[in-house]
């Protein structure tokens, strides 16, 4: 009991001494906003978060406050507020031993004595399917570690909901040549020379790259790499790599790792410096609104959709217009209004 008294005292002390976290730089704030928390969080959201957070903390007993905030994608201010609130919750008579045992001590979150909420909530069916989908996709990844261990984990999950783990949920990841070579090059920090077909210019060119990340998106594998030609980070579609050899040079991981933003979910597809075009698409060209990252989409009463997207080159837009045919039209900028027709005319001339 004496120990509890100490704990409670510690809580009270902490509450007085906890400093408001320093104002975050703009980039960090943007990440916090990315956690879908805009405006004040509802009571229900805060409770839901705590019912996941508290058992997680009690399992670990002591974790750095900054690590917890990062793990749960929360600002430190929100986290401190939630923990302070939890620390005064429990059951009557609200004596120290009847409260949730969590406090902050010199930058550490401490939850050593499991009083309340020490066991996590059950998985919802959506969470169960999500984890099954993750495991099934992970098992298909080249070089995926621990396939058999993952299978054992799924067997254990099946005890919770046999129907969910048996779910007819299939993941079809694209095949791509060179994927394994890219993976081992990334692993070995080996610089590569590739022959790459660039659809934005319709040409094959040689590039020297240093692999930073390999990822799939919308049915294609991409390699994010440092590109010697442009001096910038570029995403190359793996199936457009026509050949690949190691140059023999080995680079330092720090050279590339420092340039990756791990919270960057859009893989740096399109920068703001790329040209913005607005297209009107309808009927069998409606796929354009779904196939590419768009800046905005507006549905019109006549069934058409106005789509704004950034383009990498005039050639790329010309190709899109040709494929969309008469059901896509450029609204802005003016200079591209006749681009589809001009491209069709040029391609048509090959048939003469």
């Amino acid at each position: 009991m004496a120990k509890k008294g100490v704990t409670k005292t510690a809580k009270k002390t902490v509450k007085k001494t906890v400093k408001k976290p320093a104002k975050q730089p703009a980039k960090k704030r943007a990440v916090a906003r990315g956690s879908k928390r805009r405006g004040p969080r509802s009571a229900s959201e805060r409770v839901a978060g705590l019912l996941v957070l508290l058992p997680w903390l009690m399992k670990r007993k002591r974790v750095r406050l900054a690590e917890v905030a990062k793990q749960f994608r929360m600002s430190e201010a929100d986290l401190v507020a939630d923990l302070q609130m939890a620390a005064v919750c429990g059951v009557p008579p609200y004596t120290p031993d009847a409260l949730i045992d969590v406090f902050i001590d010199d930058g550490w979150v401490v939850a050593e004595i499991p009083t309340f909420f020490s066991r996590p909530l059950r998985l919802t069916s959506a969470e169960m399917y999500a984890i099954v989908a993750m495991v099934r996709a992970a098992q298909k990844l080249p070089g995926a570690p621990s396939r058999s261990v993952l299978t054992q984990a799924v067997v254990k999950l099946a005890r919770l909901a046999p129907d969910a783990t048996d779910a007819p949920l299939h993941i079809d990841l694209p095949d791509a040549p060179h994927l394994e070579e890219l993976r081992t090059a990334e692993n070995d920090l080996a610089e590569l020379r590739i022959e790459y077909f660039n659809p934005a210019r319709s040409e094959v060119a040689q590039r020297t790259i240093r692999v930073m990340r390999i990822f799939s998106d919308h049915g294609h594998w991409y390699v994010m790499a440092d590109d010697d030609k442009s001096g910038a980070i570029r995403n190359f579609r793996v199936d457009r790599i026509q050949s690949l050899v190691r140059t023999g040079k080995i680079y330092h991981q720090a050279d590339v790792a420092s340039r990756i933003n791990d919270d960057d979910d859009d893989h740096g597809w399109f920068g703001d410096n790329l040209e913005l075009v607005t297209l009107r698409v309808r009927d069998d060209a409606a796929w354009i609104a779904e196939a590419y990252p768009t800046v905005s989409r507006t549905h019109n009463r006549d069934g058409s959709t106005d789509v704004s997207l950034r383009i990498t080159s005039e050639h790329w837009l010309a190709r899109l217009l040709l494929r969309g045919g008469r059901n896509v039209a450029v609204l802005t900028p003016e200079k591209y209004v006749t681009l589809g027709a001009r491209t069709a005319k040029a391609v048509r001339s090959k048939y003469d």
């Binding site: 009991m1 749960f72 066991r119 999500a130 080249p142």
Partner: protein
Amino acid sequence: MGSPVVKKTEKINAAERMLNLLALLSARSQPITLKQIRAELLNQYSEDNEAARAQFERDKSDLRKLGIPIDMLTLGGAQAGETAYRVNRNNYELTDMGFTDEELRALQVAAATVRLGAQEGEQALWKLGAERVNPKLGPRASIGFSDPHLGTILDAISKRAAVNFIYKGETRSVDAYGMLARKGFWYLVGFDHLRKAQRVFRVDRIESGVTVGKAKSYTMPKNLDIVKAVPTDRQMMAAGDYEHPTAQVRIDASLVHIVTSDFGAGAIVRSEPDGAAIFEIPCSNGYAFRLWLFAMVDKAEVVAPDDVRELAMRWLDELAAGV
């Protein structure tokens, strides 16, 4: 036990009250009434009976939405007719899964290498006691799991309950057999009662909410391969009623590599001295063929048969007429 800590009398925040309510209902072995709850959670609910009832109903509803079942019992005896409430921890807490550290690490790596674009994956991971990690190496896949229909349909499949929704302006009732994630989209394969045949639906094109029918209303077909049931782009090009099943297309040298990896070396009819090649390409589905052909802009030209060549020229003429 030391002296009770005096609870503050000012208005308590709703999150704190909800946590206290859950702790109280979980800790009591016997069901308790709202009157008893208010007495225990002193000053946490409004003094006004109606307002307190509204607050309590809101808390109860929010807790249920979090997956916490609150049992309601109608009392007899001296409290006849009063409702009492109880929460059985065993009904909402996760039992110990017995994961080894190695299994948890494997799940963490799986979660880090597969991006779902939805919070459910991370939530599941935390509940299982694992954490978000960030492996620096290795391929990562993105399969997208944010469509709210996914959970509903998958649940329905596991219960063998038909799903109902509007698709292409028509109400469909579908015995759902399975789902496939491919190229950034989710597909549902099932028996469509409207068409009286097996059909494939793209989930993001469902135009309404999805309602679920009675459980155990159908049986799964045997030996159904969900992956094969959803046609690939290449198969789509061959799935149509155009009179010519294939066309010969001249592909520029710069693209021969890519077209060969898509259609196989067997599709090459002949190679030309400049590195270009003539491919035999399915074109039964004119729309899909056109999308494929024009993706190569001026690097692909239909050479035979004449009908398909003329069709390609007509497409281009129609578009060029806008100049």
